[in-house]
C-alpha cells in the first residue's frame, strides 16, 4: 500500500498525507482507491477521461488507469448504462457517471426494467454504481438541478445513497463499489467544494456500510430526519433553535435511502416524540411520506405531535434566483416547523 501511495498524484493522496478533503475530493479518492484495489473496477461516462469529467471527479484517472478502464463514452446514457450491466454480468465492477444526474432519466428503462430485476429474474446480481452531480441551489435551471432519487426509490432491486459529509461520501462510494447489487449514488453539487465540509479522513482504507443512518447531532426535543444538503440546512436551523429557543434538536442523516434505516428513525422518534422530515426533493411522493407511514406503523404511540415535512414545492425546479430560493426549503422553514412541533 505504501508504494502505491507514492505512485498517486498529489490530488488523490490528500487523506493519505493527513490533509483535509472536500466532499468531491473524498469521492475522487474513494473511486481511485477502489480502482487500485480491484482491477475489475472501471469507469464509463461522458468527458471523464482526459478532461476528468464536468466536475473533475475523475481527474487524472485515465492517465493512471488507461483508456480501457476510464472510458469516454458517446452521449448515450442508455448505451453505456446497459453496457455497464453487461460488463457486470461478466464479473466486472463498472462505475457509471451521469454528467448531470438529470440525464439518468434517459436510462430509466435500462435501470428499472433491466438492471433492477436481473437478480430476481435469475440473471444474477448487477454489481454496478451509477453516480452523478445532483441537487439545486446553483442556478442550474430545470435540467441541471434535479433530485430524482424518488423516481427510483419505488424500484425494488436498487439501492440509493446520498451522502452529506466527506467522510461518508468516501466510505459510501467504496461500499457501493463493493456491493453485490446496483447502487445509485447521488452527489450534491452544492456540497462538492464547500470549504465548511473539508475534513481530515482516515489515512487507511475504510467503508461506511450501506443502509445505516447516522446521528448528525444529538438532541432530545425534536428529531429531524433528512439527508444530503438538507443535513446542513437542518444543522443551521438546529443551532438557531438552540440559541433562540433553547430547543435541543436531533438530526438523523439517512445517508442511504434504500434500504431505509427504519430502526434509526424509530429510535430517534422514541427519544424525542416529535418528528420533522426535511428533503430537498419535491413534496408529493417525497421520502417523508414513506417515513411517516413507517413511524405510523411502528411507533404511533410514541408521538406527541403529528409528523411534519419541509420539502421543495411541487413544481419543476426554476432557474431565476428568487424562484429557486422560494422553491427550495430554507433554514427558516425548518425553524418554523420545529417550533410548531415543540409547542404542540
Amino acid at each position: 500500500m505504501a508504494t502505491l501511495i507514492h505512485d498517486r498524484p498529489e490530488h488523490v493522496r490528500l487523506s493519505a498525507e493527513g490533509k483535509p478533503v472536500t466532499l468531491l475530493e473524498a469521492i475522487r479518492e474513494g473511486i481511485w482507491e477502489e480502482m487500485e484495489r480491484d482491477e475489475r473496477v472501471f469507469l464509463l461516462g461522458e468527458d471523464i477521461g482526459a478532461y476528468g469529467g464536468a466536475f473533475k471527479v475523475t481527474e487524472g484517472m485515465q492517465e493512471r488507469f488507461g483508456a480501457l478502464r476510464v472510458i469516454d463514452t458517446p452521449i448515450s446514457e442508455i448505451g453505456f448504462t446497459g453496457a455497464a450491466a453487461g460488463a457486470a454480468h461478466m464479473g466486472m465492477r463498472p462505475v457509471v457517471e451521469m454528467q448531470f444526474i438529470d440525464f439518468i432519466s434517459c436510462a430509466y428503462d435500462m435501470i428499472t426494467n433491466y438492471i433492477a430485476t436481473s437478480r430476481y429474474r435469475g440473471s444474477g446480481g448487477v454489481p454496478m454504481v451509477i453516480r452523478g452531480p445532483s441537487g439545486g441551489g446553483v442556478r442550474g435551471g430545470p435540467f441541471h438541478s434535479q433530485n430524482p432519487e424518488m423516481a427510483f426509490f419505488h424500484t425494488p432491486g436498487l439501492k440509493i445513497v446520498y451522502p452529506s459529509t466527506a467522510y461518508d461520501a468516501k466510505g459510501l462510494i467504496k461500499a457501493a463499489i463493493r456491493d453485490p447489487d446496483p447502487v445509485l449514488f447521488f452527489e450534491h453539487k452544492w456540497l462538492y467544494r464547500r470549504p465548511q465540509l473539508r475534513e481530515v479522513l482516515p489515512a487507511e482504507d475504510y467503508t461506511v456500510p450501506l443502509g445505516e443512518a447516522r446521528t448528525h447531532r444529538e438532541g432530545t426535543d425534536v428529531s429531524i430526519v433528512t439527508y444530503a444538503a438538507m443535513v446542513h440546512k437542518s444543522q443551521e436551523a438546529a443551532e438557531q433553535l438552540q440559541r433562540e429557543d433553547g430547543l435541543s434538536v436531533e438530526i438523523i442523516d439517512l445517508r442511504t435511502l434504500l434500504p431505509l434505516d427504519e430502526e434509526a428513525i424509530l429510535a430517534s422518534v422514541r427519544k424525542t416524540n416529535r418528528l420533522l422530515v426535511v428533503h430537498e426533493d419535491t413534496r408529493t411522493g417525497g421520502i417523508a411520506g414513506e417515513i411517516a407511514m413507517r413511524v405510523n406503523e411502528k411507533a404511533f404511540e410514541w408521538l406527541d405531535a403529528p409528523i411534519l415535512r419541509v420539502a421543495a414545492l411541487d413544481a419543476p425546479i426554476p432557474y431565476s434566483p428568487p424562484l429557486e430560493d422560494f422553491f427550495l426549503p430554507g433554514v427558516e422553514d425548518i425553524v418554523k416547523a420545529v417550533r410548531h412541533l415543540a409547542a404542540y
Binding site: 478532461y51 434517459c106 419543476p316 431565476s320
Partner: protein, 357 residues
C-alpha cells in the same frame, strides 16, 4: 457612387436578392455581437447561469433557418434549435431583448424566469424551446411535422443537433420515425469537432455523419458550414424537398466550435493551432464579407451601416432587459398545471403556522 445602379457583376445564387444577402449579414453580425455583449453581462454577474457561445458557427445557424418560410401568425415553418443556434432563433424572429431577459433570469423573459438561455418557445413565430437532454427535440419535431402532414399543411420543420447528440437513442428513434412517415423534416447535424471535450472520433465510427442518412433511408447532404451561401443552398434544397413531399433530409454542416463548451470551459483538450487556423482562415463572417465585397454584392459602407445599427439595437435591448424586473416569489407556483397554482404548504416560510394563527 456613379456605378451603384449598374447590375452586379456576379449573379447571386439560389434566387436570393441583394436584400436577402444583407439580411443574412445582419443576422450573423447580430448573433456574434449579442453573444459578445452577453459575455460582458456574464462578467458583471448579470447573466446568472451558464453562457454558451456559437463563435464560428453563426453562419450555418443563420443561413439554414433563412431557408424556412417565416411568419408571425403560426402558419409558417418551425424549427427547434440547439444551444448554439442563437442565430437561427433570431432569424425566426426572436428578439435580442428576449434572449437577454432569458439569460438575466428576468420575470418578463419568455420563460418567465423558469428556464434559461435560448430555451424558449413561440409557436406563432415558429420555434420550439429545447430542453437540455440532448436528442429529445428530434422526436418532438417529428411530431410537429407529422401534424403538418396530417392536416395537409405545406409546412416544414427543422431541427438542430450537434454531432455528439447523434449518439442518443432519441435521435435514432426520432429520425427513423420521421423517415417512415415521410415527415417534412430537415435534420441539421452540426459537426463542430467536439462534444464538450469529446472529439468526434470518440462519438461515432462513421467517417462523415451524412453517411448515417442512407441507414435511415433519408436524403443526405454534406456542406461546408462556414460557407454561408452553400449552407443556404443545401437548406433550400432540403426544405423544398420536404415541402414537396420528399420527406426527411439529414444535412451535415462541417464547422468548428472555436470556444469552450460553455464560458467556464478552458478548452484544455483542444489544440491552440487548430482553433487559430479556423479563426484566421475559416471564419464564416470573414468569408461571407469577402464574398459580398468580392462579388460586388455589398459595399464596405453597407456593412458598416448595418454594424452600427446592430450596436444601437443591442444598446437599447440591454438597457431594457437590465431594467426588467426579476420574477415574484409566488410565480414559482404557476404554470405547473392549467388550473391554477400548486399549493403552498404552511410549513414553507411565507405562511403563518396555523397552530399559532
Amino acid at each position: 457612387m456613379p456605378n451603384q445602379t449598374e447590375a452586379p457583376p456576379v449573379e447571386i445564387p439560389h434566387a436570393l436578392v441583394r436584400g436577402d444577402l444583407l439580411a443574412l449579414y445582419r443576422y450573423i453580425r447580430l448573433t456574434r455581437t449579442l453573444e459578445e455583449r452577453l459575455v460582458n453581462l456574464h462578467r458583471q454577474n448579470k447573466v446568472v447561469g451558464g453562457l454558451f457561445r456559437s463563435l464560428g458557427q453563426e453562419g450555418e445557424s443563420v443561413a439554414s433557418a433563412f431557408a424556412l418560410r417565416r411568419r408571425t401568425d403560426g402558419t409558417g415553418d418551425m424549427l427547434s434549435p440547439l444551444i448554439r443556434n442563437l442565430g437561427s432563433m433570431l432569424v425566426m424572429g426572436a428578439e435580442p431583448v428576449e434572449v437577454l431577459r432569458q439569460y438575466m433570469a428576468k420575470g418578463d423573459s419568455p420563460a418567465r424566469g423558469k428556464e434559461l438561455n435560448i430555451h424558449f418557445t413561440d409557436y406563432q413565430r415558429g420555434f420550439v424551446g429545447q430542453i437540455s437532454p440532448l436528442g429529445d427535440m428530434v422526436p418532438v419535431m417529428t411530431g410537429v411535422t407529422l401534424t403538418f402532414r396530417q392536416r395537409g399543411e405545406e409546412r416544414v420543420g427543422m431541427v438542430y443537433l450537434g454531432e455528439g447528440a447523434t449518439s442518443t437513442g432519441a435521435f435514432h428513434e426520432g429520425i427513423n420515425f420521421a423517415a417512415v412517415q415521410r415527415c417534412p423534416l430537415v435534420v441539421i447535424v452540426e459537426s463542430n469537432g467536439y462534444a464538450y471535450s469529446t472529439p468526434t472520433a470518440k462519438q461515432s465510427a462513421v467517417k462523415a455523419f451524412v453517411d448515417k442518412a442512407p441507414g435511415y433511408g433519408v436524403a443526405g447532404e454534406q456542406v461546408d458550414g462556414n460557407d454561408v451561401l452553400a449552407v443556404y443552398g443545401a437548406a433550400r434544397r432540403a426544405v423544398d424537398r420536404a415541402r414537396e413531399g420528399g420527406g426527411v433530409t439529414l444535412i451535415e454542416v462541417i464547422t468548428f466550435r472555436r470556444l469552450g463548451h460553455a464560458q467556464h470551459d478552458n478548452q484544455s483538450y483542444q489544440s491552440v493551432e487548430e482553433i487559430e487556423r479556423w479563426a484566421s482562415t475559416n471564419d464564416p463572417l470573414d468569408r461571407y464579407v469577402a464574398t459580398l465585397l468580392g462579388n460586388g454584392w455589398a459595399s464596405e459602407a453597407d456593412l458598416a451601416g448595418l454594424d452600427t445599427q446592430v450596436e444601437r439595437e443591442l444598446d437599447d435591448a440591454i438597457a431594457v432587459a437590465d431594467a426588467s424586473p426579476l420574477p415574484q416569489d409566488e410565480d414559482t407556483l404557476l404554470d405547473v398545471y392549467a388550473d391554477g397554482p400548486v399549493p403552498l404548504p404552511w410549513t414553507r416560510h411565507t405562511l403563518p403556522d396555523p397552530a399559532r394563527a
